[in-house]
Amino acid sequence: MPFKCRFNIAGLALFAALLLLWEFYSRTAGLETYLPPPSAALKALFEPPMARALFGHLLETLGRFVGGYFLAAALAVGLGVVLGYSRVAYSFAEVIIELLRPMPSVAIIPVAILCLGIGDAMMIAVTVYAAAWPILLNTIDGVRNIDRTLLDTGRTFGLGRWRILREVALPAAAPYIATGLRVSLPIALILVTTSEMVAGADGLGYFILDEERSMRPANMYAGIAIVALLGYALNRLFLVLEGRALAWRSGMRIRGEM
C-alpha cells in the first residue's frame, strides 16, 4: 500500500451515524432500562466518582493483562524454541498439544479456581494458558522454517549453539513469533475480562457484570466502551512496536519477497 489514509472518514461517519440512530431510538422508544442512549453512558464516564472507580478497575485489568501476556510470551517462546528445534521433544508433546489446543480456553477457568482459588493468581494463570497457544504454535513453526543455510552460516563462522540461537535462529523466527504475539493479544484480554466476570472482585469484567446486575445499564455500557478502547489501544501499540522491531521486513513485503 503506497498511500495510507490515517483516518477512515467513511467508516467513522457510519459509526457516528449508528450512535446517533441509537441515541435517537433509545430516547423516543423509552428503552432506558436496557438500551440507554450513548450519551447517558458518556455522562456516566465523566462523573468524577464513577471515573475514579472505572480507572481503578482499568488498572486492575491492565495489570492482569500485562502479567499474563508477558509471562505467556516468555514461556511460549522458550518452549516453542525447544519443540521447534527438537523432533524428539515435539513427538513427546504432540498428543497433549493436539488435545488441548482445540479446547476453548475458558473451560480451564473452573480448573484454575479449584487449584488456585479466587484471585489474581488464578486469573493470570488462565490468561497465560490461553495466550500461550498462538505464540507457542507460531514459534514452533518459525523455528522449523529457519533456512538450513542460515544455521550453517552461523556454524561456519564458528558460533556456538547458544549464540546461533540468539543471533541467528531467534531473529530468523521473529516474524512468526510476532504473528503469535499479535494473535494472542486480544485473547489475553478476553480471558482477563472473562475470569473477572466469573470470579473477580474488581477489574473491568467484574465492573461490567456488576453494573448489569445492579440495573445500571449506562454504567455497564461505559465499562464496555472502556474495555473496547483498551483492546484497540493495545493493538495499535503492538502494531507500532512490531513495525519498529521488524522494520527490515516492511520493504520486503511491499516487494512481494516474503
Binding site: F157, G158, W248
Partner: protein, 256 residues
C-alpha cells in the same frame, strides 16, 4: 605442511535400511598457504557435499580433512564457507554493514575499530554508500559481494566458496571474478573455490582439480601456468588458456 589437507575422503548417504549411495569416493588433495585452487566438475557431482565436509558442516563417512594439521570434526575456526545461495545466507534483519560486522563479531571484535574495518571491506568490494541498505534492496551480484565481505571480515585463513557466482548474470560474474582476484591478492587469503564453469576455474586459480560424478572422484589435477594479474580479455585469449580448457573439457566428458 599444507594449510588444508583432504585425505581419502568418502561420503555416502543412507544405508541403514537400504543400499548406501556413494556421493564422494576417495578424494585426496592439498592446498598450500596463499594458493587459489579450483574444483571443477559437472552439476550434481557432489561438489557441495565435498565443501560441506571440508567446512566441518557434514561429517565424512571415511577419510579425513585437516586444517593446519588439525583434524576437522567441527567447523574449524580458521575457515569460512561462502554459500552459493547468498540470498539464503545473508541475514535479512541486518543491514549491509550489520552483515559484514557479523563476521567481526563472530571473532569477538566490536566497537569503533570493527566498524571501521567493516566499512573498509565494503569499500574493497565496491559497496561504499550501501552500508545502511538491507540485503533485499540490492541486486544478486551486490548481495554476493556482501557475503564475500562478511566472510573476509572474519579473516579466515582459508576461504571456501561454493559456486559463488553461479546465480548472477554473465557480466556481473566477470566483474565479481576480478573483484575476488583483487581481494585475494590484497589480503593473501587462501581460497578453495568450487565451480561447474571450466573457464572460470582456469581464469581464477593456480591449480584446477577435475572431478567426475557419481560418485564424485578426482580424475585429474591441472596446473595453471597463466601469468598474473589476469585479464578477462587477454588471459582468456591466450593459447594456454584454450589448451587447458580443452583438456579439462575432455577429461570431464570422458569420465562420465
Amino acid at each position: 605442511m599444507p594449510l588444508l589437507e583432504v585425505d581419502a575422503l568418502c561420503k555416502s548417504y543412507g544405508g541403514s535400511n537400504g543400499p548406501a549411495t556413494l556421493a564422494i569416493e576417495n578424494i585426496s588433495f592439498q592446498v598450500e598457504r596463499g594458493e587459489f585452487v579450483a574444483l571443477v566438475g559437472p552439476s550434481g557431482c557432489g561438489k557441495t557435499t565435498l565443501l560441506m565436509c571440508i567446512a566441518g558442516l557434514t561429517a565424512p563417512s571415511a577419510g579425513r580433512v585437516a586444517v593446519k594439521a588439525k583434524t576437522v570434526d567441527r567447523p574449524p575456526p580458521d575457515l569460512v564457507l561462502v554459500f552459493q545461495e547468498y540470498n539464503r545466507s545473508l541475514f535479512a534483519w541486518r543491514t549491509v554493514l550489520g552483515n559484514v560486522l557479523f563476521g567481526l563479531e563472530a571473532k569477538g571484535r566490536s566497537g569503533k575499530a570493527a566498524e571501521e574495518r567493516a566499512r573498509r571491506l565494503l569499500g574493497l568490494v565496491g559497496l561504499e554508500g550501501f552500508e545502511r541498505h538491507y540485503p533485499w534492496q540490492l541486486s544478486g551480484g551486490m548481495q554476493q559481494r556482501v557475503a564475500i565481505a562478511r566472510a573476509l571480515a572474519y579473516e579466515p585463513e582459508v576461504l571456501l566458496m561454493d559456486e559463488p557466482f553461479g546465480s548472477v548474470d554473465a557480466m556481473t560474474r566477470l566483474e565479481l571474478e576480478d573483484a575476488l582476484l583483487a581481494l585475494w591478492k590484497d589480503l593473501g587469503t587462501t581460497i578453495l573455490l568450487v565451480t561447474h564453469d571450466i573457464e572460470e576455474a582456469i581464469y581464477l586459480s593456480d591449480r584446477v582439480h577435475v572431478l567426475a560424478r557419481r560418485p564424485s572422484r578426482l580424475v585429474e589435477t591441472v596446473q595453471v601456468p597463466l601469468a598474473r594479474p589476469r585479464n578477462q580479455l587477454a588471459t582468456r585469449a591466450e593459447p594456454t588458456f584454450m589448451e587447458l580448457r580443452n583438456e579439462i573439457y575432455r577429461r570431464i566428458a570422458n569420465a562420465v
